[in-house]
Symmetry: C2
Subunit: 327 residues, 2 copies
């Protein structure tokens, strides 16, 4: 049964183009991929047929044959966050410019979701994965030869990690508060049990505090933590929050308590993403080089995909102190 014209809903394929142009599939494929010798006349005929039939090559069939999809998996907690939103934007952008598409996965920081996403991405034959939300160990578990790059997260012993220079950032932030005269400075961060480079922010804070003979005190973010901090430390005069969203919560609570910023309390955050700078320009912060991080991550992934070797594992990109009105 020839169903060439009967079933309108059928997608047009190489064969249809070949029939229309009166040549073989091979020839059409040649025109499509610019391979081998083809006479101008047939090339033109084929192009016209493709135009006429509005032909779109089936990338799935192609992927199956060449064993490559040009798809990169992106696993991050959520796009609903100024930092990740910006990072993912750049990751997609750069990938697209290099001919790769991007499969988006919002893990919400949940291990089970991350695991099932990882499985899904492998089934879909992605060429590689960039992940920014993880507990050490899970991703490599299955398939050590899947190209992989972490952003601000250790994924395995020898998976490249790209991050901002967290130690330097933590140092700059703490030092600024001290320089501005703060004596009772508190640090708020995410869970330290997650082994991430971001822990270096806290380490730097502690080191700088000790160097200056102050007592370092860190709180882990969670329910009512900010209220607790204010209640337990009436004489607090400086807060270094490990991200800008936390810093903004601190500012809100301070306002509620009629604590004047920066007169009575100085606050500095971390990230400095575009949206935060736009909506909360008064917040001092340590700005991460988001675009550069994305650039490098994609580059390192493509190197792995292309089988090139790269022995450097940890990549730290310079941060920038932005002094605004809260310090």
């Amino acid at each position: 049964m020839k169903n060439t014209n009967e079933n309108v809903n059928q997608k047009v394929k190489l064969d249809d183009v070949a029939n229309e142009a009166g040549v073989s599939k091979t020839t059409v494929s040649r025109v499509l991929n610019n391979r081998g010798y083809i006479s101008e006349k047939t090339r033109k005929k084929v192009n016209e047929a493709m135009e006429l039939l509005n032909y779109h090559p089936n990338e799935i069939a192609r992927s199956l044959f060449i064993n490559k999809t040009f798809i990169i998996g992106l696993i991050f907690p959520t796009t609903n966050n100024p930092f990740y939103g910006q990072l993912i934007f750049h990751l997609e952008n750069i990938s697209e410019a290099l001919g790769y598409k991007v499969l988006l996965c919002n893990s919400e920081g949940r291990e089970d979701k991350e695991k099932s996403y990882l499985e899904m991405l492998q089934r879909h034959q992605v060429d590689g994965i960039i992940a920014g939300s993880h507990n050490r160990g899970i991703l490599e578990y299955d398939n050590p030869q899947l190209p992989l790059v972490g952003i601000d997260r250790y994924l395995s012993e020898n998976t490249p990690v790209v991050s901002s220079d967290n130690y330097d950032g933590g140092k700059k932030a703490t030092q600024l508060l001290i320089d501005k005269g703060c004596k009772k400075i508190i640090h708020i961060n995410g869970s330290p049990s997650l082994e991430t480079p971001a822990n270096l922010r806290r380490e730097a804070y502690e080191d700088v505090m000790k160097e200056n003979e102050y007592y370092p005190q860190s709180y882990v973010i969670g329910e009512n933590v900010i209220e607790t901090i204010f209640n337990e430390n009436p004489n607090i005069d400086g807060i270094f929050a490990s991200d800008d969203l936390i810093a903004s919560s601190v500012m809100k609570e301070a306002k509620r308590r009629n604590i004047n910023i920066p007169a009575d309390l100085k606050v500095i955050g971390y990230d400095g993403s575009e949206i935060t700078r736009m909506l909360l320009p008064e917040l001092s912060t340590i700005q991460q080089p988001v675009k550069e991080i994305a650039d490098l991550a994609v580059q390192l992934l493509l190197k792995q995909i292309n089988g090139e070797t790269e022995s450097k594992i940890e990549w730290k990109l310079p941060v920038k102190l932005i002094e605004s009105e809260t310090t």
Copy 2:
């Protein structure tokens, strides 16, 4: 040549599992898809073999055969924006829950990028597309039978559009300013040449102004527009911005000019996304039901994908007025 253990780099396939279990590919496929009759013994054997070899079915090959990818294309200006970041988060989330993956495309509002993304998505055989950034007409141009849903954008005569009730939102915002005693109210919005449902925000503003015998005056966002507004309208006392980011710029400029909000100038925005509420809680705004929009959009797309019909084209979801400190 048996290459079971020789070539470690090769992906393991159905055949390998079959060999390992001592059955045929068919049987393995049956176990995989729970089809037909299979004895418990073989099922167990096969499962063990899959486990042993760490087998991941090749979804590309499967897609080619069943002519379906379970991938949805998402075309939006950027994830680097509180509203789109949140919307895309939900779109991905819901899709994932329904067994679909998501291919992310940041169009940056550029027609050329959108066009090439559309082409790419078709080549990749996506099952459907949800787009939120568009100039009328382009998407349907090529392939009218590709399932398609617009969010806040008309894509073609009979493509479903999901949006917040923009007219009601514009009305609520304008009415609030009037109720609060504003007499010289200005509206700032995106380009009205883009035929989008969001234009209804401006229309509502104009209608309400006229009803109250005030003179409506709209500015289109662009370079230095906000400064211009303040310069040209020294007696301005109310601004309705068509999104919260614009509203925040207005607030910044007002601060620079020592104009007191809300005493001398009242400001209301539009969107009310989570990040904005968090970073700029003092801004009054019209909140869109982002999750509900995403829910409905995915649902409408899946209906199309499954061949179900739905004659309703325009879907408007209720907005919520959030009164805060700027009004």
